[in-house]
């Protein structure tokens, strides 16, 4: 389906260029409508504000370690817009935009990074989202299993799963793509290649020219898209989703992107990358170019954008306060969810712990 964009020929799919213009000379591709483009923009604005706010909260000591999404938003926003609500969304950990597209409250995301397990409670019937997976790439097999289950149940739901460029080195990446190929599973592997795994640059991660080309070794297609172009991300995902839904199996999408911020708030990226590199990528910021697009196409006015950003900031602040005031997990809850029913041996430990904590209060 991506004949015109074979990564082995050095091709990368870009629709919206850095100037906010739609590239001409492209074959026919699924396109975001104006309404969708505006929605993508709005979600990207709130994602950016929420992300920045988390980083500054961390500096204020009100938020533990947080991994910023800045610069990568188009990847999960564009791709989540290209699938339906019943399709499983398996997160890595930099998909805040996608979560908001899916309708997950921002509060929940904050709650998770505030260190509350309820941040991973995604109402299953409602969101079809898997929680953040901390061990890199270990979520990939889950996606393949979910895809199998949907196929088994005879639904037309597909699964989209994310990981990073670093994550392509992990055995799970290989095994998952391989299983998916053999099972012809309806799954999209979306790699956010943001050029670094913490401090380790992409070329220390793998010697292949692109990540997308790895797909061919598993018997299916891979495509590299400009991950800062929400149109390209949308188009590729839409094609891959249709492909999977029709029973034609998996696809690998490499979103070529950049993490503008630190790996996490505990990281100092100046140790391992050049200012110039960051400056070059800032020009490619997905938000800037989408803003140009919605303005050029008169989907919104400058003034409305100012308001939108102000609103977004407010929303982020409110969501954080809500999360911060959320009920803390109790001692009982730290035991109760180990199993469906607490076995006697654990009940006894809980009792002992209650006694210890009581004894100290």
């Amino acid at each position: 389906m991506f004949e015109n964009f074979d990564p082995r020929e050095g091709k990368r799919l870009q629709i919206l260029n850095e100037d906010g213009q739609i590239n001409s000379d492209l074959p026919k591709l699924p396109m975001l409508t104006n309404k969708q483009a505006l929605h993508a923009f709005k979600i990207m604005v709130i994602t950016r504000e929420a992300d920045d706010w988390a980083v500054s909260l961390n500096r204020q000591g009100r938020m533990p370690t947080y991994p910023p999404v800045k610069g990568q938003e188009a990847n999960s926003i564009g791709s989540l817009m290209a699938v339906k609500n019943e399709d499983w969304f398996v997160q890595a950990f930099r998909e805040l935009g996608g979560l908001l597209i899916r309708g997950v409250p921002l509060t929940q995301h904050y709650l998770y990074f505030l260190g509350n397990e309820m941040g991973s409670f995604y109402e299953p019937e409602k969101y079809h989202v898997l929680p953040i997976s901390v061990p890199i790439s270990s979520q990939l097999p889950h996606a393949v299993g979910l895809a199998y289950a949907e196929q088994y149940k005879g639904t037309d739901n597909i699964t989209i799963v994310f990981n990073g460029d670093g994550g392509t080195s992990v055995g799970d990446f290989h095994e998952s793509l391989n299983f998916a190929g053999v099972w012809n599973a309806p799954v999209i592997f979306y790699v956010q290649n943001n050029q670094y795994a913490i401090s380790v640059p992409r070329h220390h991660q793998t010697a292949s020219t692109t990540i997308a080309e790895k797909a061919f070794g598993y018997g299916f297609e891979g495509v590299q898209v400009d991950g800062n172009d929400v149109f390209a991300v949308y188009a590729a995902t839409k094609l891959a989703a249709n492909h999977a839904r029709k029973g034609n199996g998996p696809t690998l999408i490499e979103g070529f992107t950049y993490r503008l911020g630190a790996h996490t708030t505990a990281d100092d990226p100046t140790r391992y990358r050049e200012d110039q590199e960051v400056a070059d990528w800032i020009k490619k910021d997905p938000l800037i170019r989408l803003e140009k697009y919605v303005l050029n196409n008169k989907l919104i006015t400058e003034q409305q954008i100012v308001t939108l950003k102000k609103e977004a900031k407010k929303q982020a602040h409110a969501a954080f306060e809500e999360a911060d005031n959320f009920q803390k997990e109790s001692l009982d809850n730290t035991f109760r969810y180990t199993f469906k029913n607490i076995p006697p041996i654990l009940e006894e430990q809980l009792e002992q712990r209650r006694e210890l904590e009581g004894g100290l209060k």
Partner: protein, 327 residues
């Protein structure tokens, strides 16, 4: 009723439950056409089709990881790890996901799945085909670990494991796979996970073992009985969450404890049982609680495996020492 071996009881449990619940799928290396290298899944593909019983590519990590995905997606996977010595690639999935999904998501997503694997030694097998490393699983919060020792228990415990809402590691004593037959009901039945069995009541010594080692434990119990020594033999059956109350009740009665298992001694199952008893039945102990276990060594290749295995006579010897102990 039918007379079944342990391995056919595994197959029978799967046959029975797959009939009852169409969400059960079983897969792993060679489980489809071949029916498993030990024939545990034989005829399942024929009966239930390729979507419910099939071969996977060779990757234990992905077998467990995809099974978890299926479980979260509403299926009830029962996967086979060909030998317990090959489960280690799946450790990451087991520890960081399978055991935690319920807790991580506060119950939104769960992992009702079974990971079956033959374990135990003494069958003159290649390297890594003989180990007994159940204690590793016992230490992982969030999973249950079950080990049957008879055909009857095998069927009942495996069905319980499949119906359990939490993940269960189901370790099968391969040395006993075809060692003996037992009457096993044709219908489905369950044996509760977390309950030990008092195989033989007795008064002078509590002898605890499980799985493959139960054969020698039973023989030793019989031999000791002949010598007029009354042993209470307990089959642990569940390694985690293990049955504290049955153990404590027994030791409080006998005052003496011997725990026997194949796996390495240090940080092994016997350590846990003895630590628990030493605390909770301290005043009842009349002799040092004793372990008779595999050594902290690599399980030897076949020509020297007799240097590792615990024989009936070894149990008799240690049991006698514990019984004769006078402070």
């Amino acid at each position: 009723m039918q007379a079944l071996t342990i391995i056919s009881a595994v197959n029978d449990a799967l046959m029975t439950e797959m009939q009852n619940d169409k969400n059960i799928v079983t897969f792993g290396e060679d489980v489809g056409v071949e029916g498993g290298v030990f024939r545990a899944t034989v005829n399942l593909q024929k009966k239930y089709g390729e979507k419910r019983c099939f071969d996977s590519p060779l990757a234990e990590n992905a077998i467990v990881g995809t099974a978890l995905g299926m479980a979260m997606g509403g299926l009830r996977p029962v996967v086979e790890i060909q030998f317990s010595g090959f489960v280690y690639p799946a450790f990451n999935q087991i520890i960081t996901h399978v055991s935690r999904m319920r807790n991580r998501t506060r119950g939104a997503l769960t992992a009702p799945m079974v990971i079956r694997m033959p374990y135990s030694g003494g069958i003159r097998a290649l390297e890594l085909h003989s180990e007994s490393m159940e204690a590793l699983f016992g230490h992982i919060p969030g999973i249950k670990v079950v080990i049957p020792s008879t055909p009857y228990d095998t069927k009942g415990l495996l069905i319980s494991a499949i119906r359990d809402e939490d993940p269960v590691i189901f370790m099968e004593p391969k040395r006993l796979y075809r060692a003996f037959k037992q009457e096993v009901p044709e219908d489905a039945y369950t044996i509760p996970i977390g309950k030990a069995a008092i195989v033989q009541p007795g008064t002078q010594l509590t002898l605890i073992s499980y799985g493959s080692q139960m054969k020698e434990a039973k023989e030793a119990t019989a031999l000791l009985q002949k010598e007029g020594i009354s042993v209470e033999l307990i089959d642990l059956r569940t390694i985690y969450p293990y049955d504290k109350s049955t153990i404590l009740e027994s030791v409080k009665k006998t005052g003496r404890l011997l725990v026997v298992h194949e796996g390495p001694r240090s940080f092994g199952v016997a350590a846990e049982i003895i630590a628990m008893v030493s605390k909770d039945a301290f005043e009842y102990l009349e002799a040092p609680p004793t372990r008779l276990t595999g050594a902290d060594t690599i399980f030897p290749l076949p020509s020297a495996e007799h240097h590792y295995m615990i024989h009936t006579a070894h149990i008799v010897k240690r049991a006698t020492e514990v019984i004769r102990y006078q402070p």
